[in-house]
């Protein structure tokens, strides 16, 4: 049987018929074709675009400002909507839109940091006061010092709130609104237990009231006092530290690299005393709550007494605000060691800042200033029970509106004078975590307050570069 496919049946391959020449021919042919198609496409695209670009040049310039802000969403919806209307009126030659993302608190910080590290253009961000140092240190924020000088409204801010937006002498954020933490209680539950609200004002009175309330309310599935055991427990401990004259960190000389820098001061005598009060609460039967629902648990009447932020009011139906003070009482203070002592509270809220990656800095600044104009901001504050950081709203004509819509508004405003803020330094998240660990150790009875705070301060000192 012959193999018709053997190599001998094929004529020998000549130079002319070599595979190299064949390949070159194909490539050359293909190249010509590709070149012709490419030129034709270019001509077509150019001619089709030309009338389009001519028409496009006549239309208003499209600008979309981007923002990352922290929830809840509704407050930003109203604020951006009102501010955008005014911004558009000022720039009829531009078509301005805002694309804003509303994220949960923790995700806001991470998303901003990720965006900054990746140099993603963002025009506006909401900044928690404790993030300012970290963001400024990482050179993520635009220096607004010159802009605020020409804006000339800084004197209208309360000093603490204006200073809160300054880092290393430069303005990086404008504190738009604030909140304070106060003591809220259900009047009927205290009445039924025979507990006088005034007894809650002192440490001893608070503990005794807790025991009385617990006996009376436990059968109803209601706990007496709320004690924060969640990850932000330090925020509810700081007021006790401050009212005793203590500090979280203080400046100290002799730092190995920076000369003078922050050093942990919270393990002072005042700190130990403040933490002892939390320990006493646990020993009195008050259970630290690892889940925190930001006042919803009080609105749902799961607790008779709760130290909570002024945002608690947002959990109650708006149509019940007129009769709110008939059922819920508010004492504008944290319990103090003894009668007559000055209380303290922690101020929170949100700042607005412009990242360095913004491609529309001038317009972003303009939007920011509109958002914090009293006529734009005050209605939002009234709707969501936030407190102003600027005098025209707190003391001017707008205060009447706020007073009429926010229950206990005057009392909440009065707390601004005893309000303190946390340090806005880059290492604050780690320091807060060290303090949280100390609080947890005391809650669980693992360590005494002094030991827990000393151990935490040692870690904080390392974090701050002292070893």
């Amino acid at each position: 049987m012959s193999n018709s496919n053997s190599l001998g049946d094929y004529p020998p391959v000549t130079k002319k018929e070599s595979s190299t020449n064949t390949l070159h021919e194909y490539i050359f042919k293909d190249f010509k074709l590709i070149l012709v198609i490419g030129l034709l496409s270019l001509i077509l695209v150019a001619t089709s675009l030309t009338p389009f670009t001519m028409v496009h040049a006549q239309q208003p310039k499209q600008v979309t400002l981007t923002a990352i802000v922290a929830e809840p969403k509704e407050r930003w919806d109203s604020l951006f909507a009102d501010a955008l209307t005014k911004l558009r009126e000022r720039h009829p030659d531009m078509k301005i839109d805002i694309d804003y993302r509303v994220l949960p608190y923790a995700d806001t910080r991470k998303q901003i940091l990720t965006a900054m590290a990746g140099r993603t253009p963002i025009d506006l961000i909401s900044i928690d006061q404790i993030w300012l140092g970290e963001f400024a240190e990482g050179k993520f924020l635009s220096d607004l010092s010159n802009l605020t000088q020409s804006w000339n409204r800084s004197s209208e801010w309360f000093k603490t709130n204006w200073d809160g937006g300054i880092y290393n002498g430069k303005v990086y954020g404008i504190w738009a609104w604030t909140d304070v933490r106060a003591m809220w209680y259900w009047k009927d539950l205290l009445n039924q237990s025979g507990v006088s609200p005034d007894s809650l004002r002192t440490w001893n009175g608070y503990i005794e009231a807790a025991k009385k309330l617990e006996n009376s309310t436990k059968d109803k599935g209601i706990q007496a006092m709320h004690l924060v055991g969640a990850s932000h427990s330090p925020d509810m401990w700081y007021p006790y530290l401050w009212m005793l004259g203590g500090e979280i960190v203080k400046q100290k000389s002799g730092h190995p690299q920076k000369g003078t820098y922050w050093f942990p001061a919270y393990n002072s005598t005042e700190g130990v005393q403040a933490l002892q009060f939390l320990s006493d609460q646990v020993k009195a039967g008050i259970k630290p709550q690892i889940n925190h629902f930001w006042g919803k648990e009080f609105a749902d009447k799961k607790f008779a007494v709760m130290l909570e932020g002024s945002w608690l009011l947002g959990h109650f139906p708006r149509n019940e605000s007129k009769n709110f003070d008939k059922s819920v009482g508010m004492i504008p203070m944290f319990p103090v060691p003894k009668e007559g002592d000055t209380s303290a509270t922690m101020m929170g809220g949100w700042m607005l800042g412009i990242p360095v990656t913004s491609t529309n800095k001038a317009l972003s600044w303009e939007l920011l200033t509109i958002m914090i104009q009293p006529d734009v901001l005050a209605p939002m504050l009234a709707n969501y029970a936030y407190l102003p950081t600027q005098k025209p709203i707190a003391e001017g004509t707008y205060s009447t509106q706020l007073n009429a819509t926010i229950p206990y508004y005057k009392e909440l405003i009065s707390m601004l004078s005893i309000g303190h803020s946390r340090p806005s330094i880059a290492e604050y998240p780690q320091i807060a975590d060290n303090i949280r660990q100390a609080i947890d150790e005391v809650y669980l009875g693992v360590k005494e307050p002094k030991q827990a705070l000393d151990d935490a301060a040692k870690k904080s000192a390392e974090v701050l570069g002292w070893s």
Binding site: S19, T20, L23, A117, G138, K139, F140, Q223, Q437, D440
Partner: protein, 302 residues
């Protein structure tokens, strides 16, 4: 013999066809790994990421190995992974074997048991967080109704890890069910028939036929669920955020917190690299263990 262009092109062709897959491998696996090692050997934090990165060698690794919180996280990981793997495997195996018995509704039950695996870990975490809540959880409510004392499922350092293991078992056991079911389907029923004729009971058939024939599936299943449990942190983040007192902070959560909560990217990268090492060691140990057992069996049969 000098190759022609065509022949050269032909010999290169298989490698050229591999280029897309290799690009993905290099781009999404090798490059991030190398980049991770690079970051771990420099001093990089969120506040210095846009500035100059100082080379520090192995300092981040030595700091990590000296960190008591990292040691704690390794202990917690050991408990969490050990408990999760054991429970997921045991429960998954039992369900797979029971459902393979051709009982009424076995297909429907199989579909039902897969549902937990389709639910995201975050949703699972939130659901179990409310079930196990000390004050408002349905579990403690049920215990109180039965006259028992409530348990501090999420706030007792001694209990919290086992609470997470239960949640992880619920979430991950369906994978074992699916995997081992596939293995059980591959076993020829004639083998069981022969064993039955020889007088083997169901239990003996399980231990002397089912388990040995399922061994390749078991090895792969154990490797996968171990690695997933080592890397798993979203459920823990949602349920306890690593608390109380780091009692539920596993190594993966520790790495996440260092990098993304404290902004210590180098330390997080170093922790991540050590985690990869842990996974490789565990996977290698499984394979070596089972191969040693197989060789022992072969030697016995000789």
């Amino acid at each position: 013999m000098k190759l022609t262009l065509e022949a050269r092109a032909g010999s290169l062709q298989p490698y050229l066809l591999l280029v897309p897959a290799l690009s993905i491998l290099i781009g999404f696996l090798l490059f991030p790994l190398m980049w991770n090692i690079y970051i771990s050997m420099h001093n990089v934090s969120l506040t210095t990421i846009l500035g100059e990165w100082k080379y520090v060698g192995f300092k981040n690794f030595s700091n990590l190995l000296r960190d008591p919180d990292f040691h704690m996280s390794l202990q917690v990981s050991l408990l969490f992974v050990g408990g999760s793997v054991a429970l997921q495997f045991f429960v998954g195996m039992v369900l797979a074997v029971v459902l393979n018995q051709q009982i009424w509704g076995s297909n429907a039950f199989r579909a039902l048991f897969i549902i937990p695996w389709t639910v995201s870990a975050v949703i699972t975490g939130f659901s179990f967080k409310f079930i196990f809540s000390d004050s408002f959880g349905v579990l403690n409510y049920g215990l109180e109704q039965m006259g028992l004392n409530p348990v501090a499922w999420l706030s007792d350092p001694g209990v919290v890890v086992w609470t997470l293991v239960i949640a992880n078992m619920w979430h991950g056991a369906p994978f074992t069910v699916i995997f081992l079911t596939a293995g059980l389907f591959s076993i020829n029923p004639v083998v069981y028939e022969a064993a039955r004729i020889d007088g083997a009971t169901k239990i003996k058939s399980f231990f002397y036929i089912t388990l040995p024939l399922l061994k390749p599936f078991i090895i792969i299943n154990l490797i996968l669920i171990t690695m997933w449990s080592v890397n798993f942190f979203d459920l823990i983040l949602v349920m306890t955020n690593g608390g109380p007192l780091f009692a539920s902070t596993t190594s993966s959560l520790y790495m996440y917190r260092q990098a993304f909560e404290f902004g210590l990217l180098s330390k997080g990268a170093a922790a991540g690299f050590l985690l990869i090492g842990m996974n490789l060691v565990l996977a290698y140990s499984y394979i070596r263990l089972f191969r040693r057992q197989e060789r022992t069996v072969e030697i016995r049969q000789m």
